[in-house]
Symmetry: C2
Subunit: 304 residues, 2 copies
């Protein structure tokens, strides 16, 4: 993408840096921010539907959990983050918006010592919602089980949504090189963990299976919501260790994420899943999820 | 540190962003830079002694190697980076300077897809050299063998000096919490790799041992130079897999890094190494290294 086109695109975004609103093209930060130097930051992404913020409580809880996991003391309260988010969304003035909240540890240089830093920087980016391709739901996506190993829980815990994303970028890069949409990563024991920005699911003999948290993965909010829906519908669930062979030999397979919802997988490596189109049980769950979203949106305390 | 003090400090730094020189307090970058969003960048740090750049060829070679390892196409040539570095150092006008070169993949948002980005950003930070505590050489430092596992080679290769530093930050954090100077990390197989910003060495029965590269660690430039010196002096070397037990039970122990040179270790966890002061063979190597540095500095083609 050309610089001018990108610049034009971000002009329409609203960015909040420590309470100051600006358009995207003017949103800058010190190069001494540890977010830039070391990826020393945490973040969350969610969206709004009809001016209501999707699962904001859950996203904020996870933001604070990520802070704990990387020992990042926060000088912004939950209420301040909510207020600043709503202020930014109001300025964008768009019913269906994308919102990304980033908190960096702050400025310091040159030591990596995390105890030496200037106060956190809070950055909130709002833009009109992405129009993710809707054909995905019908046609599904093709993924690989790649060579990239998901970060070890004791290296950088995948449960911390942080500014260290090279592991995921390397995995996605591997998929793109081979003409696939995404890479499903194994951990160092060879067990399935997650996609680069999503959780993974399979269906076999009517059972909905997803890797257990101890496999080393992000506790996805959509993952949690799907577990809730499946329980309500009395459908059998297994959170368990899953091998690549088991995933490849599933009857149906799909990914879940906050930004994309539920997307069927129709091919893993060379293997076609089912008949190569979105599975029936996946489609049914997709409908359940849409219904659940509408109900939940009505209950949200966060709107603007 | 207070914001004002930090701001005052960086005012004296010179920062070069894509060829434009500015003082540190004015050096800013777009929040859409992938360096900030994902830690999607590479870097090198070296220093100057009497206006000569220390091992610049080696640092630049490693910068290009890091780019390869994270599949980062560079739109700056070796010569351009050299020219911009010298331009920045000339402006700082300080005989003994610290120089950090950062190249980010560029701007993109919101996808992590590394194939979608605007041209790289080159950031060069120059400041007067750090006055690292010289008592380290005499008194040594105390380290722990921590709980943090070094990034797996197939997750984020430790040989790529990148903007993903949380693994090292978490390890250093562990040491600081326990009142130690640094953490030596094991890999997921329990084998010693490196410190958070340095390579690790032990001496036993007259043999100088350091973890082999296949243990998963950065091929440190000072590590390479020490190997050269030891070979020249006909001292026995082993690059091999080292267990925590072996490290703890060594006769002497030290770390090596570009910014700190050679620093003795006098304690690992609860165990005092040798008599608790800098080891004799370590001190001898330190002297050899200082002598070697002077010789090499005279040969460097990079001065300003």
């Amino acid at each position: 993408m050309k610089n001018e086109i990108f610049n034009e695109k971000i002009k329409g975004f609203i960015v909040n840096i420590n309470g100051q609103l600006t358009s995207g093209d003017k949103a800058k930060i010190s190069i001494f921010d540890r977010g830039l130097l070391f990826g020393d930051s945490i973040y969350e992404v969610t969206s709004t539907i009809n001016r209501k913020i999707l699962f904001f409580t859950e996203h904020l809880n996870r933001l604070f959990n990520s802070a704990d996991l990387i020992s990042l003391p926060l000088n912004f309260s939950n209420d301040e983050i909510v207020q600043e988010s709503i202020k930014t969304l109001e300025k964008l003035n768009c019913d269906n918006a994308y919102i990304r909240i980033i908190i960096t540890r702050g400025l310091s240089f040159p030591s990596i010592d995390p105890t030496q830093f200037i106060a956190n920087n809070l950055i909130i980016i709002c833009m009109p919602s992405l129009n993710e391709p809707t054909f995905w739901q019908e046609e599904g996506i093709k993924v690989i089980i790649g060579n990239t190993i998901r970060n070890h829980k004791r290296s950088i815990d995948p449960n911390a949504k942080s500014g260290n994303y090279l592991n995921n970028i390397m995995a996605l890069s591997e998929a793109k090189r081979r003409g696939f949409s995404d890479t499903i990563m194994c951990n160092s024991d060879g067990v399935i963990t997650e996609g680069t920005t999503n959780n993974i699911w399979l269906i076999k003999n009517g059972v909905y299976k997803t890797p257990s948290l101890d496999s080393g993965l992000l506790k996805g909010i959509t993952r949690e919501k799907i577990l809730t829906i499946l329980k309500k519908k009395n459908l059998p669930i297994q959170e368990t260790k899953i091998t690549p062979e088991e995933l490849i030999n599933s009857e149906e397979c799909f990914i879940s994420s906050s930004t994309r919802g539920i997307v069927p997988i129709t091919q893993i490596n060379d293997k076609i899943i089912g008949d190569g189109t979105a599975g029936k049980k996946t489609k049914l769950l997709f409908d359940y999820y849409q219904e659940f979203l509408l109900q939940e949106m009505d209950k949200t305390p966060y709107s603007f």
